[in-house]
């Protein structure tokens, strides 16, 4: 009796393993509706491929899904389970095999992804990039933040809050992510105009919350005289907020000026921990992505490059910034 119970549980687990781990695709489908078999032949199918499952992209999915539903397009959304260019390439290979009509992609590594993007285009799939560009590909268009300009905005915001004088520690994310490197370059460029603002150190948290937190703590230890912490990716802000809370600090003790309007950062602004945020306007992207792919599938063209801009969020506009 006992043995048979064990065997039954073990067999059930084996099936779970087979369907989820061993033979499943190395991607996480976060959204998407299954179309009826007889409708698929007529219905267009678009796919959005993110670099990772992250709340930052949820507004994009929501807006894209809403618009796709309204025009009868099937939308699939995928993201690798970790920031891994190889997994993203595999997802794109699968989408080519599925013969989807259009793909909107945020590259984890633009160099790695370019050849597979070109392959998709060669097979007749329309491809656009967003958030982070793929310059060496033949993608039809790009929309998103000009990350270099966003970096400039971050640098200017830091200099403004420091009155042109102070010390800065920085945590970035994946060193291979083009958008983050462009932001860093922009920030450094802006701060060159302020010789009394010193960047004490730049470290990488690899996009991993625990590593990012450890890096922030160690930098605080190494440079206790810093004035501002700045996070270049969407993980830096939330982890800095946790460190500030543990230390009992507010923005009056040490400033956090960071990127992205993820919920923890927005709450950090409201709680008086984060001084200000530079945010992309990702809530504008979702609908436009589906519109652009539809235009391309209809034989039209889309702008090669659209900068959707950025917005500075602080305590004064934290509830209204999306309307600006």
């Amino acid at each position: 009796m006992k043995k048979s119970v064990y065997r039954t549980i073990a067999l059930l687990l084996m099936f779970m393993l087979i369907f989820s781990g061993c033979s499943g695709p190395s991607a996480t489908e976060t959204e998407g509706e299954e179309g009826q078999p007889d409708e698929i032949a007529e219905q267009r199918t678009f796919a959005i491929v993110y670099p990772i499952v992250h709340p930052f992209f949820e507004p994009v999915t929501e807006e894209a899904q809403k618009y796709a539903d309204s025009i009868g397009v099937e939308l699939l959304t995928y993201a690798p389970d970790k920031p891994d260019a190889r997994q993203q390439v595999e997802i794109l290979e699968n989408l080519i095999a599925m013969k989807v009509d259009g793909i909107a992609v945020v590259p984890t590594d633009s160099e790695t992804i370019a050849p597979i993007v070109n392959k998709a285009i060669d097979t007749g799939i329309q491809v656009i990039a967003f958030e982070s560009d793929i310059p060496k590909s033949n993608r039809a268009g790009f929309q998103g933040t000009d990350n270099y300009k966003a970096g400039l905005a971050l640098g200017e915001e830091i200099a403004k809050r420091l009155d042109g004088k102070g010390k800065l520690i920085v945590a970035t994310g994946l060193p291979t992510q083009l958008s983050l490197n462009q932001r860093l370059d922009g920030m450094k460029e802006a701060l060159e105009s302020y010789p009394d603002v010193e960047i004490l150190d730049i470290q990488s948290g690899q996009g991993d919350p625990t590593i990012t937190m450890n890096v922030i703590e160690s930098m605080i230890q190494a440079y206790s005289d810093f004035d501002v912490f700045s996070g270049i990716d969407a993980t830096g802000g939330p982890m800095a907020v946790a460190v500030w809370k543990a230390k009992g600090w507010t923005k009056d003790d040490k400033m956090i000026i960071t990127f992205d309007n993820v919920p923890e950062n927005v709450q950090g602004v409201k709680d008086g921990i984060i001084t200000s945020l530079i945010s992309q306007k990702q809530w504008l992207w979702g609908e436009q992505l589906i519109k652009d792919l539809t235009t391309l599938c209809d034989g039209g063209s889309v702008p090669n490059y659209v900068d959707t801009g950025n917005v500075v969020i602080d305590i004064n506009n934290v509830d209204t910034y999306m309307e600006e």
Partner: protein, 332 residues
Amino acid sequence: MLKFISPGKSKDSTETISDRIIRIALGRRESGLFILLAGICIIMSILEPKTFFTSENMFNILRQVSVVAIIAVGQTFVMVSGGIDLSIGYNLGLCGIVIAKSLGAGLNPTTSILAGIIVSAFVGFCNGLVITKLRLPPFIATLGMANIARGIIYVLTKGYSISIGDPFILYLGSGNIGIIPAMAILMGVIIFIGIYQLDQTAFGTRVKAIGGNELATKLSGISVTKNKIAVYTMAGVLAAIGGIITIGRQYAANPGAGANFEMDSIAATIVGGTSLAGGQGTVLGTLLGSLLLAVIKNALILLSVNMYWQTVAVGAIIIIVCTIDVFTRRKK
């Protein structure tokens, strides 16, 4: 420190107790790790006198090492038994998400924490069951389970972090007992229990025997199945404790919180001297391995080493320490 050393049998009846302790200590592999760790600390104290050897930085290191060391205790038992647990990181993350969801659903903190521990223990139990009953290699079984845990995390959260406001959990992850981080004290207790369990109990002896020679252990009448399931379940419970501390430390249950912990725990365990082939390993070694890696990572940041070179340095140090270990064992 000295009280952790196993007494052993003296070969020389005229040997004094202190001589005996020193002889045994120097003969143990952990002493080499300890000397290396102490050497790095001394060098860092000279290079960074104002920042490294301060109480604040020591507590920083303790906070950064605690979760890895706790889950590495579970990994040590698993690896000594001849297995490996690749699900330990996402199991940690799953526990945090279950607790956060339970709290959000209105359950009281005790029930929520218990729910998280039970789920993680069940994941560990399932690992043991699949490995022993279906005879899947531990690498495959736990890799599959890691995917299941990761998938469930994303299904439950859609990638969003969940805020944690429970004072007890926050205290465990971010509070102090006196001046010492609460999580470091919890780590100390778990390490102590782990050392005792592996070195001084019949269970520990059975785990080593299974890792050393599974067939012979089975023929001697020991239930390999029961003991392996117990080992993986224990690793699941320790992952849960790591998960509770992590959500308390990050003030949120983050869906990505468990990523990389499996590799960190394996690295700490191997650097600590546990054999990948099973049968050999100590919890004290694992603690020292965890501390060594944490101190090195901390030191590289304090020394402002370029972020690209840090990964190279950590990888090189793992290889160097393990190479020295291999040569030392061959020599013996």
